[in-house]
Symmetry: C2
Amino acid sequence: MSSTLSELEKEVIEIFVRLAAGLSLPRSVGELYGLLFISPNPLCINDCMNKLKISKGSTSQGLKILRSFGAVNPVYIPGSRSDHFEAESSLRNIVTGFVNEQVRPHLENGKVRMARINELIAAEEEEERREFFEMRIGRLQGWQKRAGSLLPFALNFIKPD
Amino acid sequence: MSSTLSELEKEVIEIFVRLAAGLSLPRSVGELYGLLFISPNPLCINDCMNKLKISKGSTSQGLKILRSFGAVNPVYIPGSRSDHFEAESSLRNIVTGFVNEQVRPHLENGKVRMARINELIAAEEEEERREFFEMRIGRLQGWQKRAGSLLPFALNFIKPD
DNA sequence: CAAATCGTTCATAAAATAATGAACAGGCCG
DNA sequence: CGGCCTGTTCATTATTTTATGAACGATTTG
């Protein structure tokens, strides 16, 4: 297997590097996914680090992250001692994994905070101010709820592939 | 006007600080929006920097970013020489602005790249490899298109408030 | 069992990002 | 005009994030 990147590989990897940046994931994570996405065969850690010229640590860490939301799957290769990986190619699976891992926790956390905020508002003496606060926080809660309901909807929109 | 943050303010600001982190925007941007969101009156740069205890530079920069996608609007205050700002409270306006500024450019860019990638694939001699590449890139384009059509749809889902 | 292979972890180095505050430009008022 | 107030910019500093690679435990091989 060639240890340098083809033009095609470079181009595809760049797409995912940019995507990773947009999601504020480390660049190496984008590189790894891009490489695996366009690779006809599953690759092991050594293949990845050689082709991408990144360190073993980054490779191990990056694949761990990718596995954590199911963007990459381990593949058993008979006769090889190393773990191999291939890119999960179902967008839906990846997005679902990503949302569950990285997005939902924040939404949950927000809900908890709201309880405290509502208490604080109730304690406001001056009526006009209290009403303003209630209005704004009401809106905030509306957003939260809407985000919560948009999510499953969006996931559904990404039909089963 | 008090120059220290009330409990309520702190709590609300924290919500937006976290949100900003999620969008990988500077913390100061979250602080500023949170402060304005819960403020009954428009605030000027000096108000903001005093209450948040951040530098003039950060304040100026942060408000610039917030204005860039319409999360904050300038308000004319008769008799004051400083610009004042209030939070835009229409989620839809903010999300639309944010998507147009920070998301769409990436999608566009991706489309451009695809042209080059398709050329590269066409040049692949070995049939089996070429077919694999076509399959994967086809999928990639499917994602792109879907992301493009999900966006306006999601914006619409956020009804006019 | 000794040597080699594999993968992870973690202290450290390097790089990227954000905050600071002084310098500056423009406007306003006396 | 000259001092004063506003807000922006940008070089520098501080902070945070990411990458590196050596050390390690686990596993396999001969």
